[in-house]
């Protein structure tokens, strides 16, 4: 089978799994779990193979499929991997089986529907990542909404309905703006070809005039910024995270939030380079505000899930900073930071789910000295905490360090030319690292150390299944931390192309 066919198989396997689930009777819960796990495992193998086969030195798309879908509109089924999405596809596929395995005990009601929704969201997320056609992208982008709505709303906590409606209504508002902008982009601008086309390649080459770009970029950016989320559009996130079941939180933190940053990277910036250049100071400022504000809020939370939720806002601020830095280092750092945050935050949410299963509370003050009560758990938790802080040898360090290097790389020459703002912002972002260490270590101190205290004692330490899940995540965290070179090589060419595109946009903006 050719590699393009494998990419299609990767995308459509969950749909096949959905059909399989539909045939299983509702009370065959074990069968449902096994089938879902098998599908996600095969996806992981496929994604791993594609990652290995992906040649980072080649420009452009690899393993691409192009088929007409709605011919009259120039809409195609157009998918492929490039340096920007290949790592995120791998991340999505990596988290898939872990989520399925990790969600086992928490879900007791409507098991079949739950697994169907997991497969559905896996399909939608992969589709969003590998779509190379704006219409297709939008369809997948919106399709992610429905399963998440149900996952939070059916299996969530007490305020689940409020949280899920807030999540959907926030996200859908952005989507409506994006829809308006994309219709305008394709149908209202003079098209050079005989037919309009939604293909990214086509749209990259035919950018609208700089004035129009600003409006369209603003619409896309609001949509993506809600998803990331960037302060001040973040208020749905803590609610959604806290109320979501463990699997929902892991998917949300692990992959869904990255869709926002990926959207900026894949669409917002390259489709409207001049506008992106114009708005770069604003994006940088908001990114740094997100880093600092998210960290400050994480500091004062008493709900353990909320601490990680706010830390996500802070960590994704780095991604935005890296994207806005317009340096190869910063862009690559942003991609690594996305992957790293997916692993670390996903892992932390899984661990919080594990302890919640045992103690049924998320209140930090109910806990203490877990290191004595759950030694194995505590070791894993400490490793992930340090990775979240960005300790060298962990993936968090690679991502944050590269982003900050990239930001300073860009800021220093500008400072020498008399623009101090980028340097001040970059320096403030470093402060975020300090704050990050503060809230995470303080959290770990109160959670793991001190006098042993936890409800529902005695507690059973991690079982073998849980240990395997966490071991996989920790292994990936160290792999990226110790030897990121292979992954960086996959993204370098794409980052260069990307930088060239943005600098071209800058030229266009200056010409105006």
């Amino acid at each position: 089978m050719s590699d393009a066919a494998l990419l299609n198989a990767l995308l459509w396997l969950p749909v096949a799994g959905l059909l399989g689930l539909a045939l299983l009777p509702r009370d065959r819960e074990v069968g449902v779990r096994r089938l879902t796990f098998a599908v996600t495992l095969v996806q992981l193998i496929l994604a791993g193979w594609l990652l290995v086969r992906f040649d980072g030195a080649l420009p452009g798309l690899q393993f691409a499929t192009r088929l007409p879908w709605i011919r009259a509109w120039g809409v195609g089924y157009h998918i492929g991997l490039d340096g920007l999405n290949v790592l995120l596809v791998a991340l999505t596929a990596f988290l898939g089986p872990l989520v399925v395995a990790g969600a086992v005990p928490a879900v007791r009601r409507d098991v079949k529907l739950f697994h169907a929704m997991l497969l559905f969201i896996q399909f939608a997320m992969l589709g969003t990542l590998i779509a190379q056609d704006l219409f297709l992208f939008y369809v997948f982008w919106e399709a992610m909404l429905i399963p998440m709505f149900l996952i939070i709303g059916i299996w969530g906590g007490e305020r689940r309905i409020y949280a899920t409606l807030k999540f959907v209504l926030y996200t859908a508002f952005g989507s409506i703006l994006m829809l308006a902008a994309l219709i305008y982009l394709v149908y209202s601008l003079p098209q050079t070809g005989d037919l309009p086309s939604f293909a990214f390649e086509y749209l990259y080459r035919h950018t609208p005039s700089a004035g129009v770009q600003r409006w369209l970029f603003a619409a896309f950016a609001v949509s993506f910024a809600i998803k990331v989320p960037i302060v001040p559009l973040h208020t749905w996130l803590p609610d959604a995270h806290v109320e979501a079941p463990t699997a929902g939180s892991v998917i949300l933190a692990g992959v869904l939030l990255k869709m926002g940053t990926y959207g900026f990277m894949k669409l917002g910036i390259p489709l409207f380079p001049a506008a992106a250049w114009y708005f770069t100071p604003a994006i940088m400022t908001l990114a740094v505000i997100s880093i600092l504000y998210g960290a400050c809020l994480a500091l004062v939370q008493t709900d353990i899930k909320k601490i990680i939720a706010y830390s996500s806002i802070s960590h994704l601020g780095y991604v935005m900073l890296g994207l806005a830095s317009v340096s190869v280092l910063g862009i690559q750092g942003a991609i690594i930071q996305m992957v790293s945050h997916g692993l670390v935050a996903g892992g932390l949410f899984l661990m919080i789910g594990m302890v919640y299963e045992r103690c049924h509370t998320r209140e930090l003050s109910d806990y203490g000295g877990l290191a004595r009560l759950l030694p194995v758990y505590s070791v894993f938790f400490m490793i992930l905490t340090l990775a979240s802080i960005g300790l060298p040898t962990t993936s968090g360090f690679t991502g944050e360090f590269m982003v900050l290097m990239g930001a300073f790389d860009t800021a220093w020459p500008q400072f020498q030319q008399g623009h101090a703002a980028p340097l001040v912002l970059s320096a403030s972002a470093v402060l975020g690292v300090v704050l990050g260490a503060w809230y995470m270590l303080w959290f770990a101190q109160r959670f793991l150390f001190g006098a042993p205290r936890a409800p529902h004692q005695p507690l059973a330490d991690l079982g073998r299944r849980e240990q395997w899940i966490l071991a996989a995540i920790v292994a990936a965290v160290f792999a990226i931390g110790l030897y990121p070179q292979p992954l960086l090589r996959k993204t370098e060419q794409a980052a260069r192309q990307y930088q060239a595109l943005l600098l071209g946009g800058a030229a266009q903006d200056v010409r105006r």
């Binding site: 509702r26 007409p68 879908w69 709605i70 011919r71 009259a72 509109w73 809409v75 409507d110 529907l113 939008y138 369809v139 919106e142 399709a143 909404l145 429905i146 709505f149 149900l150 709303g153 059916i154 689940r160 309905i161 899920t164 409606l165 959907v168 209504l169 859908a172 508002f173 409506i176 829809l179 308006a180 219709i183 305008y184 149908y187 209202s188």
Partner: protein, 461 residues
């Protein structure tokens, strides 16, 4: 006028008429009339097949020149209307067995078919009236609630107002242009002649009233709530489609002049806004669907802002997607003790745990009506706004999209009730509704086809 042309061109109508006559004869012969349902179903299906064949063969004729003309596009519209009637008939089986019910339904369909082939205001008027008059009776025929009579009367009076407005507009137009051909309408829209412009505006107002566009919508929630399930489905889908297709006949594919564009855009926009907002507060499913259909009338009329062949395509596609998904919701409605209990949104609580497939069908329908991909409603919504943007009305398109965003909430609320609430504790007697499942499959298959291959359908419109 040649007899073979009349015979072939009007074949769908003739088949319906045959059905109506047979049903009436049956009514006279036997009060209990066991075969009425089968007869009506066969007549409708045959008419639908005839319309489809006329479309496929590309048959075009004008058996009554200047009054009645058949073109492939009209045949397709007829097929759409008749095909929608099949699930409605299947739904009717459980609630009605008298042949007079089916005779009324088929008469209304006859009017709808006449409507899409009309070439003059006279035929158009006949079609509108033949379509509407039986529906007043159909609302009343269920008579399961004390307020049915009131709602039917309200509907009748407002429908009569629409008729009068339409006739007044037609006479103005006739006075200004000296012709009853429907192409006078498109010309009148653009002229500065006050008489002709007033005539055109009155006709538009009548069509707005018939399709329940704000502020002429007040009859719809009452009538939808008071009628029985199949009649509500009929009004929400087929009557609405008939009126929109009539509007399509009038507007043709000519661009709307700027002065008229404000009228065409403003009231539908108000319709979307108010329909979507008022639907939030409803406790009755059919009332909610009424407000939803008010909003959808808004989207449909919005499509007229665009010009050219895209307009026909948009209206047809939208009606197909909207009709199929609305009918799907009606076919999957949970059965309950009495009509009022069945209608309460509360009875949806925990539906997923009682009847998962029905809940999934209703959920798909709601999400499609909300316009979320990958469901057919999304492509339909996309088409409408694409047309509006391509017509140069970007600001209206943005406002319309924002109005459509407001609609998301109440559709999601239905899903929330079905999936996220524990089942209501009241005993749930359920009817045997075997045919409803057949009807659901009739809706589901085209819905899936439209969702997977919208391009295939678009190429054929």
């Amino acid at each position: 006028m040649s007899w073979p042309a009349i015979l072939i061109a009007m074949l769908p109508e003739h088949l319906l008429l045959g059905g109506i006559v047979a049903l009436l004869a049956l009514e006279i012969a036997n009060e209990r009339c066991p075969g009425a349902f089968a007869l009506a179903l066969v007549a409708t299906a045959a008419a639908a097949i005839a319309a489809f064949c006329l479309h496929v063969t590309g048959y075009a004729a004008a058996p009554f020149p200047g009054h009645y003309a058949v073109a492939p596009s009209a045949s397709l519209a007829k097929f759409l209307l008749l095909a929608f009637a099949v699930p409605v008939l299947l739904l009717s089986r459980d609630e009605f067995s008298q042949s007079r019910y089916f005779a009324l339904l088929l008469s209304s369909l006859y009017g709808a078919c006449l409507l899409v082939s009309s070439a003059s205001f006279l035929t158009l008027f006949l079609g509108l009236e033949i379509m509407s008059l039986p529906v007043y009776a159909l609302v009343l025929i269920a008579f399961q609630r004390p307020d049915s009579a009131e709602a039917a009367l309200k509907y009748l009076v407002l429908g009569g107002t629409a008729t009068a407005t339409f006739l007044l507009g037609t006479s103005f137009l006739y006075g200004a242009c000296g012709t009853l051909g429907i192409d006078a309408f498109a010309r009148a829209l653009g002229t500065a002649d006050p008489l002709a412009a007033t005539g055109a505006a009155l006709i538009v107002a009548a069509l707005f009233l018939k399709a329940a566009v704000v502020p002429l919508h007040a009859w719809a929630p009452d009538a939808y709530e008071a009628a029985s399930v199949p009649v509500t489905a009929y009004m929400a889908v087929i009557v609405k489609a008939g009126v929109l297709l009539a509007a399509l006949q009038l507007f043709g594919s000519a661009p709307v002049p700027p002065a008229a564009a404000a009228l065409i855009a403003l009231l539908p926009l108000a319709s979307m806004l108010w329909g979507n907002i008022a639907a939030i507060r409803q406790a009755s499913f059919r009332r909610m669907i009424a407000y939803s259909s008010i909003a959808h009338a808004g989207y449909l009329y919005f499509a007229f802002l665009g010009a050219g062949p895209g307009r026909y395509q948009t209206i047809m596609f939208y009606l197909a997607a909207y009709g199929v998904m609305t009918l799907l919701a009606f076919t999957a409605l949970p059965g309950a003790g009495d009509d009022a209990a069945q209608d309460r949104l509360q009875s949806f609580e925990g539906l997923f745990h009682r009847r998962p497939y029905a809940a999934l069908a209703i959920a798909a329908s709601m999400l499609s009506l909300a316009g979320l991909p990958p469901l057919p409603g999304f492509v339909a919504k996309f088409l409408v706004f694409r047309n509006v943007v391509a017509g140069g009305h970007t600001a209206w398109a943005v406002l319309g999209l924002l109005a459509s965003y407001l609609g998301l909430y109440f559709y999601l609320r239905v899903i929330q009730l079905m999936f996220m609430q524990s089942p209501a504790n009241q005993p749930q007697p359920t009817h045997a509704r075997r045919l409803a499942w057949v009807a659901a499959v009739c809706c589901l298959l085209p819905a899936i086809a439209i969702a997977i291959a919208p391009g295939w359908l678009l190429d054929r419109l």
